[in-house]
């Protein structure tokens, strides 16, 4: 009888929420929704210096968060925010955002640079940034349709040494001209 009443009360919302003391730990959605204030609803960023997380791979997100937490990746807010979450939280967020639809950005890009980047990308970056940057090998982040300013900030951090490049990336990037690198970023930003 009591159970029946409780079921009815729950279903109709009559029971006061506050009367129910037990609550489940934060879900992936609860954790991830809090990120959306800066990264956009469901991880689709409208701010050009902040990356979209929608469609990013779980591995890349977990890797990024761990590196923010340890300080291995340079950051402003992310280093501190990452300390607020556990490795299990990172996995939950990574899974959540990886399931969201890729968010195509609407940005003005230089078509000549895009073409140049397109001609360079396969030979130089294609082994890890696969499918025109729509996917990444292992924890390599997807770059397709990211905001150009975000990609440029990251590249500047790589070139200055603030952010450490993976060995294979360093081999490719070091000999390239700044113009070629910028063309590559234009290309990846353009991929829908």
């Amino acid at each position: 009888m009591t159970m029946k009443w409780r079921g009815w009360a729950l279903a109709t919302g009559v029971l006061a929420i506050s009367a129910m003391a037990q609550a489940a730990p934060p879900t992936a959605a609860m954790l991830s929704n809090a990120c959306a204030g800066c990264h956009g609803t469901n991880g689709g960023s409208a701010g050009p210096s902040m990356p979209s997380l929608a469609g990013q791979s779980k591995e890349a997100i977990v890797d990024a968060m761990k590196k923010f937490k340890s300080g291995a990746r340079p950051a402003t807010v992310m280093g501190r925010l990452a300390k607020g979450f556990s490795d299990a939280d990172f996995v939950a967020m990574g899974e959540y955002f990886s399931k969201q639809k890729l968010h195509p950005t609407n940005q003005s890009l230089d078509t000549a640079k895009i073409a140049k980047g397109a001609s360079l990308q396969e030979a130089n970056c294609g082994r890890c940034h696969i499918e025109d940057g729509k996917e990444g090998k292992d924890d390599t982040p997807a770059m397709a349709s990211q905001w150009l300013p975000y990609l440029q900030i990251q590249m500047a951090d790589y070139l200055s040494g603030k952010r450490k490049m993976p060995e294979k990336m360093e081999e490719k990037v070091k000999p390239m001209s700044k113009q070629d690198l910028d063309a590559l970023l234009h290309f990846y930003a353009s991929v829908k």
Partner: protein
């Protein structure tokens, strides 16, 4: 009195009005019983827009009516940049609600909420009554003007702006700064904490000082802070003022303004010391938005609304949730980002409750930027969770902190922060 249905339908516009008309035809309407599926959200700011949108995103079978007195919202975050002259107008800070209706089916009612009957679950508005199954109040703040002698709640801000709600007040303050003669004095009065946006008054100090340095270099700003010290990001503000505004910013802690003389353009500290200003920006002490007080939701302090830290349901009236600046959210600061996080947790648990599902513990974030100059900003961050033993929201250790220094990259991120959070609220 019931809601003027034609008026309401007109305001809603488009497809949603048809749905409502159909509902009205079957005797549902806005004042009748709804079968447990209507949430009313009051206040279309940082908290209310997000609560309304996320409830619809999580369960589109729940009807959501967002009631807001204006047809637009102007963001307080970044409004100091307009005051400092970094923005031509307030359009980058202004959002409308039409896409919340088009994209998510949020029904928007432009009306003034005058009362709440918690027992009958009815909201009284200037357009009639609206029934609810659950009510979310995100009313922001109002001012305890009665604590300042000589302050008339209506007329005083017309000459002595607070500019602590963005819009006409923000524009008035900038106009006064522009009209002030070079060599003039600006007086900024900061109330005792807690108030909306802890670093806000110090960012405003910076932005006014920047304006003076550039346009009226013989002028200065006297900051009368009722608090014993700078409330937020202290080291960074002091560093910025020393770097950019030496001789312009005269910061005076523990100076509580208790009286204002509009005619003489003076404020009085603790009834004894008069300070005269050519422009006076008096930010009065604050409490939860008026409707929260009217609805009897404020706690023993008579100012802020105590809530359950998981659901944001009022501990005073069941079925009413309070989010944003108006609620007591433990360690979370009264910021736009806090309101955004609180709204999502509140929405999640309202939807779960209505669907007979379990509650989910709160997890939230705050990120709050302040500009020190045209190109430099600083921030404070934190991750927040519920301490079950304390039954309160606490900061996760290690997650709370401020920028190491003033920087241009933080200013670049700040601009994207604004773009993202306003886009989230309006699309």
């Amino acid at each position: 009195m019931t809601l003027d249905r034609r008026n309401f339908i007109k305001l809603l516009g488009g497809a949603s009005s048809l749905a409502l008309a159909a509902c009205a035809g079957t005797g549902g309407g806005l004042s009748g019983p709804t079968g447990g599926r209507r949430v009313v959200v009051v206040g279309g700011g940082y908290g209310g827009t997000i609560a309304a949108k996320y409830i619809r995103m999580m369960d589109s079978s729940i009807e959501v009516v967002l009631i807001e007195r204006n047809d637009h919202f102007v963001s307080c975050p970044f409004s100091n940049l307009y005051i400092g002259g970094l923005m031509k107008d307030l359009s980058p800070l202004t959002i409308k609600y039409d896409k919340l209706t088009a994209n998510h089916g949020v029904k928007v009612l432009q009306a003034e909420v005058t009362g709440v009957d918690a027992a009958k679950k009815v909201v009284m508005t200037s357009s009639g009554e609206v029934t609810y199954d659950r009510l979310v109040l995100s009313p922001g703040i109002d001012f305890r003007t009665e604590e300042i002698k000589g302050y008339d709640a209506k007329s005083t801000p017309e000459t002595i702006p607070h500019a602590w709600k963005a819009g006409p007040q923000t524009i008035l303050l900038r106009k006064q700064l522009e009209a002030m003669p070079d060599g003039g004095t600006v007086v900024l009065s900061i109330p005792l904490a807690p108030f909306r946006c802890p670093p806000g008054p110090y960012e405003r100090t910076s932005m006014i000082a920047m304006f003076l340095k550039q346009h009226k270099p013989k002028s200065k700003i006297i900051v009368l802070d009722a608090n014993p010290d700078i409330v937020s990001k202290k080291g960074l503000f002091l560093k910025g003022w020393k770097k950019h505004y030496q001789g312009i910013v005269d910061y005076r802690p523990a100076k509580k303004v208790t009286e204002v003389n509009v005619g003489k353009k003076t404020v009085t500290i603790e009834g004894i010391e008069d300070v005269k200003g050519d422009v006076i920006n008096l930010i009065p002490p604050q409490r939860a938005g008026h409707i929260a007080v009217v609805a009897g939701l404020v706690g023993p302090d008579k100012n802020w609304c105590p809530v359950n830290p998981t659901t944001f349901e009022s501990t005073i009236h069941k079925g009413i949730h309070v989010i944003g600046d108006a609620c007591v959210a433990g360690a979370m600061p009264k910021s736009g980002y806090s309101a955004n996080s609180e709204a999502k947790a509140c929405a999640t648990n309202i939807v779960n409750t209505m669907n007979g599902k379990e509650l989910i513990d709160f997890s939230g974030i705050n990120t709050c930027y302040s500009f020190l100059s045209a190109k430099e900003a600083v921030e404070v961050t934190g991750v927040y969770t519920v301490d079950k033993a304390k039954n309160a929201i606490i900061a996760v250790p290690g997650s709370v902190g401020v920028s190491p220094d003033l920087s241009e990259i933080e200013a670049i991120y700040a601009e994207s922060w604004l773009k993202n959070i306003l886009t989230e609220m309006s699309t």
